[in-house]
Symmetry: C3
């Protein structure tokens, strides 16, 4: 008995499945490139054991607790937001007895993979075996095989990018480099907290950036200079990319005078909400300009309505499973930036979306024309077998494969990394397998494509 | 020869089909739960024979006559809107000779099911056999086997909900209860005519509600009290749910003072169109508040642009096949209501949509977080094999199965009820069969899920 | 070895594929009806050899060069926009060495078809065989078998529609008719340049139309009369349809006084941008009115944001691969026109879209009700295997097959015509094959449908 079938996620029809199986064989052992994610450099700097099963699998994973919450289990029962879990076995029991809720979701696939491949479980998690599961996991986590660095090596990771505020000193990254451990754990420059005036603590953050860089960041020029210099520091620390999580994809291309005047209002706190959106849009164009200079790849993640649940936000803060996607426009929103830099061949902007309608309508046509644009993989709610399949089906015919950039695991859950990459590789094999079965592609091409989607395009897009 | 193949709607590949067949075997005989629809309690109260084939299959079914109309057949030729059909055989001949127009539509599936399973026809309807069909159906309709109550029992219906105005006395429901016949035919509280100021006759309806309940419904408090008390009456009559067919999903959460002031303007007829929309939005939140008190489940059906064809509306009135879906937003529209009541675990709000883009973008993420939200099945134009499949494919990975509520037949055509539930069961079996074939689910789980989707989730969501 | 597999594009599962194969056998040899496209009548009037491979396959095909451009190849390297190609073999080499970029795109399918079926190539194009390919194609193009008229006959084309400005004299069409060659090459009336005030040279065009027709086109009445009379002339030249490429689907139904006043402002250049949009909307309704009089079928192609890339537009002009689709609304936009003419059974309006979300939400419901409306085939970016499949899956259940109008190749590339129709026929066979395999349709019906989709519905919709 096993949790994982070796043919999982391959097409049901035998003709496609046979081809998919062969294609997967050629890529399953390739190293993992993880150019975008939310693991903590600290784990690898300190190399201490991961805590108990609840702190590993339930508390930090909003995919997990949002589903439980949606079915009437309270945040209190799950001890979400608590520094110490008082009754970890009880939380685990609740989780286990509701494991059936995850049927048909990617969370189930990721968890089963970790349970079987890392912890050797072969029986589906349920209330009855909850304590046995707990004991096994808790015990293994204390062994040297489960230390972060050992797992990193075992996972065959070649590069792992974290996501970091410009205010971060990157001390953990520094410590890893100095430790002599041969791993490539690199930061990503995520400036939302210093470029989005609606970010909590924005003014303090801008002031802190100034202090850090010795610039007067309350002037437009000093502010831009501080950002550019901070990017340089990140780059020296191995950073290859920036990341931008704006509410919309709006960009602007103001004159320097207008931009400086707007910045002054923003700093004074006299700007209207609409002007704050314009400011964010202007900052995307400024970031593109800097990317053209320093070569950092730009990632844009728009379209999430953050903290939709006011009560949850008030009590638990951000990233609590209450972010909801909204319709997102790219074609008009990106026009100012693209009219300025769209034809630059030395600029790479990777677009993500939570609005699947834009794949075939806007994103594939844009990326199939502008040299600077590439399409990021299906993101967040769409990082799932059917979600990935829809992305390929809707984007490929217009953008081709070579305007995409391979997979991002985008995860906070280190142990889910191999599972997530495995799902992506299987779905790519499944999609390509169907294309070959339908004679839309020759198998030798599919073999090459499978490798490019797993490794080649990632290295190229992120300059790894 | 037969109209219906036993494997219809199962996946074409043998691996998935074999599993789907087994899953369907486990659910095909389960009783029918119909918690949302538009049949008439009067039929069962009076238990008189259904009229002739045209009055049964053509005249009341907007799916049927809208397709014929779209192809140039006039409403006059079909005698739509006439109290008596003058030339039923000629209307039937027109219908039969255009039956090929329904190829590929769910209407065809529903009709073939009724023709074969109820009337024993085995040859596809066409002009040549039109009169034979007519005779057979007309004759059988006069037999005791075809009386409404006999069919109800034969269909193995466990609960059947009608949809009723608050002004309805529910005399037919009362008569059924008193008749001693053991059937559960329950009303649904559909207050559009007394909460939507743009509903024809709104003021008269509000006045009538006041008269009925002995309240002054031209004051805000009296109006709310009358609604709450009328809900109580419906509940006593077996009602489990309310239903709201608003143009959009907009909700509001006004202070009591503002709400009362707005109500006054609405009653005086001095409110602007935008304010009428705000009023409707406020009434959704009021209804949610009442649901929290009386336990009635709330169904929201937004996004239909009613009576798009002005000429048809002027001559024939509502529900004439000229309602067209429009883009529908949920994420911002529902925010006021959700910020007020979204975290209530004792409230159930079932969301429907005519805009399929919202399944993966808004509805599944919302229902996968808020405890009060559940997703209704594909509605109206999307109540079809491919429509149902898209719903499962786009909603399941984020919302799971357990934030859905099973099937609604939503029909005015009593004879189509078994056919519609059969389609839903087959598509669920097909979807689950593919999931098992792709090893995304174990078969024992699929067996349990198939039953939950058919019975368990319906009973739970609608508190049956 | 071959570029094309005989089973290409058929479903992967054997059950569906076997049926699809049979259905395709019944339609593959049927004549080509091409009621909408952008080939040049001049080619057939002059009947001169097509120029070299680059001028045939690369330079005029924005599908080809936009993909190359998106991957960093410059317009200069491809000699786009040059009257003479200086280094055709080098351009061809660049194209060949990047042929892998087209994997998974319809361009690849179209090109491989032409390469194999017309030029006898059996090896995939790549850098190594680039010059051999070039030589073979260049040589064959000089042979009598590759003259435009010979190819037209060989392609088994029954009707070929071009797309023409009202200012066109249609001399080439006239020359073809007088030449005694038995081919039906007909113009299409595309009035954008004289009805869209934002079209470059609009006023000059309106003046020229007046000169041509001897009308004062700077008065509203004279303008309308000139258009009506020009339509008559096109009709005499074999024209069956008009075509309208507006930014949106907006229609208006102004009083004659308002329309005349708006026209005056438009001519004077004093109208606001919003008024220009209203004017375009009014002109759609005027065109519908004229169609009702003269019987020309109306095609509406809305939703393309033209010339999105300002630099490319400034240097190379229109149609350079930089048009990007935008969200498009139909339900409110078409209401004024439909309220005026929607119930006319003698009017045919064919709707196209670049926004696939409208298939199931707006277009199928509209076409499934209004007698004048039909759905055009998937357009432009969606004229692809998966695009066509999505169209059938999302439109058929509500609109049926008989509110669609068969295939349009819509191409500027004459040599791609057989390839494009072959793809459409194969996808229709694949879709119908699956429907039969799933017992949603009987095979005899599918056989009839396949023919209707290929020939019958095209002839009926375009009155051919």
């Amino acid at each position: 008995m096993a949790l994982l079938h070796e043919d999982r996620l391959f097409p049901a029809d035998e003709r496609s499945r046979t081809i998919a199986r062969r294609l997967y064989e050629g890529i399953k052992g390739l190293p993992i490139l993880s150019p975008h994610g939310h693991t903590q450099a600290r784990w690898f700097a300190n190399n201490e054991p991961f805590p108990d099963p609840v702190k590993l699998f339930v508390q930090p994973d909003h995919y997990v607790f949002r589903m439980l919450y949606s079915q009437g289990i309270t945040m209190e029962e799950l001890e979400i937001g608590e520094a110490e879990i008082e009754e970890p076995r009880e939380v685990w029991r609740i989780f286990a007895s509701h494991y059936y809720l995850f049927r048909g979701t990617p969370t189930r696939l990721w968890l089963d993979y970790a349970f079987q491949e890392l912890f050797g479980m072969t029986e589906r998690l349920c209330e009855k075996n909850a304590q046995r599961y707990y004991d096994t996991i808790a015990q293994k986590l204390q062994t040297p095989e489960f230390l972060p660095r050992t797992l990193y090596d075992r996972f065959n990771i070649e590069v792992l990018a974290t996501t970091d505020s410009p205010l971060e000193a990157l001390a953990d990254h520094e410590a890893i480099r100095k430790s002599g451990w041969k791993a490539r754990i690199i930061p990503t420059f995520r400036p939302d907290s210093v470029v989005d005036p609606q970010h909590p603590g924005f003014l303090d953050n801008v002031r802190a950036l100034g202090a850090l860089m010795g610039e007067d960041t309350f002037t437009w020029r000093g502010y831009l200079r501080a950002l550019a210099r901070r990017r340089e520091y990140f780059k020296e620390m191995g950073c290859r990319a920036t990341d931008h999580g704006h509410p919309t994809a709006l960009t602007e291309d103001l004159s320097e005078t207008s931009a400086a005047a707007l910045f002054e209002q923003v700093i004074k706190g006299t700007a209207y909400a609409a002007d704050l959106e314009i400011f964010r849009g202007q900052m995307l164009t400024e970031m593109a300009r800097m990317s053209l200079e320093d070569g950092l790849v730009m990632q844009i993640h728009p379209g999430s309505v953050r903290n939709h649940n006011a009560q949850i936000f008030a009590r638990y803060g951000r990233d609590m499973g209450a972010d909801i996607p909204a319709p997102t426009n790219y074609v008009e929103a990106l026009r100012p930036l693209l009219n300025r830099f769209g034809n630059e061949r030395n600029l790479t902007i990777i677009l993500f979306t939570l609005d699947e309608t834009t794949y075939s309508r806007e994103l594939a046509p844009l990326a199939g024309h502008y040299p600077c644009l590439k399409l990021g993989p299906p993101w967040w709610f769409h990082d799932s077998p059917d979600g990935m399949m829809r992305f390929r089906e809707m984007a490929t015919e217009t953008a081709g494969f070579y305007n995409t950039v391979g997979f991002n695991d985008d995860t906070r859950a280190f142990l889910s990394i191999p599972a997530r990459h495995d799902v992506a590789r299987r779905i790519d094999a499944a999609f390509l397998g169907r294309m070959v079965a339908e004679h839309r592609l020759d198998e030798d091409e599919a073999v090459e494509l499978a490798k490019d989607l797993t490794v080649g395009l990632v290295k190229k897009a992120y300059k790894l």
